[in-house]
């Protein structure tokens, strides 16, 4: 900690180094409902203007965490700091946040103009200023023609824009979004996703986006937080999550990974030998931290596109399996195999090559030792 921060001397000069301020900090948040723990020790740091995606299956605690940040739920333990200020006990209307709800939660009895201006009314802004800012934001979201309409007469896409305008007009520090494009038609989602990404970059507001859809999370997020069973499994930039999953859950949850469970049988120079029910494989030692002990239970994964069906000497890890299905997506051909332990193995072939494998065919597959990723979270 910087000693200057506690300098009680009056008139001391402010430190010349700009201290990076966090838009949001969650410290060990815990929330229980009776016997059920919804959020268990969640800690998170969100820098200024960061796009964060909370990703996970239903019931993992992502929505509860979001609601705690909004102030709609009170955590049993832990602290919430918004813009560096303690906000844990603050009610929602006193926090520097705004929220977009899953079904938009538009006020059915107010016109678009009235509800977009609602937040400013609550901030006791003068009527003239409200009218002007409402007009401005409606124009920038291209919904100014809808100003006097009521929500019932709007389409899904229009409602989404109204909900967004209503939230953004108060210029919050953080915008919380609870599965915001889930209610839209499939064709609209891509467009809206891109618009929201650009909006976030333009305004510099931190977005915290909750979703169960990986495509959303990985394409939008600067920081992706994968949650499961009330805990954070892994957080980091999308590439890190995709290339170096930290736990078996993350590896399995994220598309395109093949997960293996086994035991360490040998400690070699730069690698470990891991014995699994379907064979023995070489996995690189972890880059940081101690290697797992001999005999400990570990898990690792291999990305589907790093596997090959024509293994050479450098593909030291080999596996024989029977192909059960081949799916062709144009740029990629996905082969699904059944392993001898009845688990599924995926092999993705990129590029416009001719099909080499047919369903029912037994194939020898291989991958390089470096392609395996040891899961740091497991082991011990």
């Amino acid at each position: 900690m910087d000693a200057l921060a506690h300098d009680p001397v009056e008139g001391a000069a402010a430190p010349a180094i700009a201290r990076p301020q966090l838009d949001l900090e969650l410290i060990n948040i815990r929330k229980r409902y009776g016997d059920f723990t919804a959020v268990d020790g969640v800690s998170l740091k969100v820098s200024k203007g960061q796009f964060v995606c909370l990703l996970g299956p239903s019931g993992c605690g992502k929505t509860t965490t979001l609601r705690c940040i909004a102030g709609l739920e009170e955590p049993d333990d832990g602290d919430i700091l918004i813009g560096g200020k303690e906000a844990t006990k603050d009610p929602p209307w006193q926090r520097d946040i705004a929220m977009m709800f899953q079904d938009f939660a538009l006020f059915p009895h107010m016109t678009v103009a009235k509800q977009v201006g609602f937040g400013l009314e609550m901030l006791k802004k003068p009527k003239a200023e409200i009218a002007q800012r409402v007009q401005h934001i409606l124009k920038s979201f291209e919904i100014d023609v809808l100003a006097d309409r009521k929500p019932a007469s709007l389409s899904g896409g229009q409602r989404q824009r109204v909900a967004l305008a209503r939230a953004m007009i108060t210029e919050p520090r953080i915008l919380l979004l609870d599965e915001p494009i889930g209610a839209l038609d499939y064709s609209l989602r891509e467009t809206v996703m891109l618009e929201l990404k650009l909006l976030q970059q333009r305004t510099g507001i931190s977005f915290i986006w909750v979703t169960h859809d990986q495509n959303e999370a990985f394409s939008l997020g600067d920081l992706v937080v994968v949650m499961n069973h009330a805990r954070i499994e892994q957080q980091g930039p999308p590439e890190e999550i995709l290339q170096r999953p930290a736990t078996a859950f993350v590896a399995g949850f994220v598309q395109g990974n093949n997960v293996f469970l086994g035991r360490v049988t040998e400690l070699l120079a730069g690698a470990l030998r891991i014995e699994t029910p379907v064979g023995s494989f070489l996995v690189p030692r972890p880059l940081a931290g101690p290697a797992p002990m001999l005999g400990s239970e570990v898990s690792f994964s291999v990305r589907a596109e790093l596997i090959t069906d024509v293994p050479t000497e450098r593909h030291v890890n080999r596996l024989s399996a029977v192909c059960t299905a081949v799916e062709y997506f144009g740029a990629v051909r996905r082969h699904v195999f059944e392993r001898s332990d009845s688990e599924v193995l995926k092999y993705d072939q990129f590029g416009a090559h001719a099909a080499r494998i047919v369903p029912g065919q037994k194939t020898l597959l291989g991958w390089a030792a470096e392609a395996s990723v040891l899961h740091a979270g497991a082991g011990g």
Partner: protein, 289 residues
């Protein structure tokens, strides 16, 4: 497609028995009453000439006019009291009671009396209000007064007290229904838009429950205006409202005068209902959103 074809003769004919029943038993008698109220002459027959005399006689009578006025004032008072009380109770039951078990218990506790006779419930107020009644005995026991308060039984106060206990749930019921229909997200959204809880109530919750309030008020209005039994039981012979007047005339065989009062009552009620129906469309009762 369903078990009944849209606009088929079957759907029309299925409605005929109920329609005929209501037409014959309600509409025709009411129209008859209107007709009778205009009957002149001495004999009570369908050949009577039509005249405004009966109405003239009614409006010329100060006592009757005062009675009509006090009926309206009394009804308005009841509407106000039950409206506020009913909303408080409805809000508490829907918003403040979190455990569904307790909510069911409380609902039942409020609804069950409705399945018993209003007459009996009105009668039950007599031992409460009298000079030796429960209220007076409690007040004297607690030391609030030294001699029994006579103002309860045989007074409008007593009638009001009894009617509040009878009709508040009519005001509360529709409000409960509308409160349930307000999605919690709407209130949460308002809170994230910097609205304090009271503002959320004033700008979001209350406006959205207004149709329920109006329906409740209409129900109370209709019931209080036509409630002669409570007035008679608790007011004794000292008090009468418009509905009692109808009975009075009927028992005195003054059929024409009775029908005049009846028609006036009907007009009051019709006006009230029409005003209310412009605020809310009740045909969507129970429809899924």
């Amino acid at each position: 497609m369903s078990t009944i074809r849209i606009r088929s003769p079957a759907s029309y004919w299925l409605a005929v028995p109920a329609a005929a029943w209501m037409l014959g038993v309600v509409v025709v008698p009411i129209v008859l009453l209107v007709w009778v109220s205009f009957w002149g002459g001495r004999a009570f027959s369908t050949a009577s000439p039509l005249t405004f005399d009966n109405y003239a006689r009614f409006f010329a009578n100060q006592t009757y006019l005062k009675l009509a006025l006090s009926t309206i004032v009394h009804t308005a008072t009841l509407m106000a009291v039950t409206g506020v009380l009913g909303y408080c109770i409805a809000y508490f039951l829907v918003m403040k009671v979190k455990s569904p078990g307790w909510r069911t218990v409380l609902f039942l506790a409020f609804i069950v009396p409705f399945w018993t006779s209003t007459l009996i419930r009105a009668i039950a107020w007599v031992p409460f209000l009298g000079v030796n009644g429960v209220i007076n005995q409690t007040l004297m026991f607690v030391g609030a007064t030294n001699s029994p308060v006579e103002a309860f039984l045989y007074s409008l106060t007593g009638i009001t007290m009894a009617q509040v206990s009878l009709y508040t749930m009519l005001a509360a019921g529709p409000v409960v229904y509308m409160l349930n229909a307000v999605a919690p997200q709407l209130r949460e959204a308002a809170m994230t838009l910097k609205a304090t809880p009271f503002t959320v109530f004033r700008r979001i919750t209350f406006p959205l429950t207004l149709p329920g309030v109006v329906i409740g008020q209409v129900l109370v209005f209709l019931n209080v205006m036509s409630d002669f039994a409570t007035v008679a039981t608790i007011g004794g012979n000292k008090h009468a409202l418009l509905s009692n007047l109808v009975l009075l005339f009927y028992e005195g065989s003054q059929i024409r005068a009775a029908s005049v009062v009846a028609v006036l009552l009907m007009i009051c009620m019709l006006v009230g209902v029409v005003v209310a129906l412009r605020v809310v469309d009740i045909r969507r009762l129970g429809a899924e959103r």
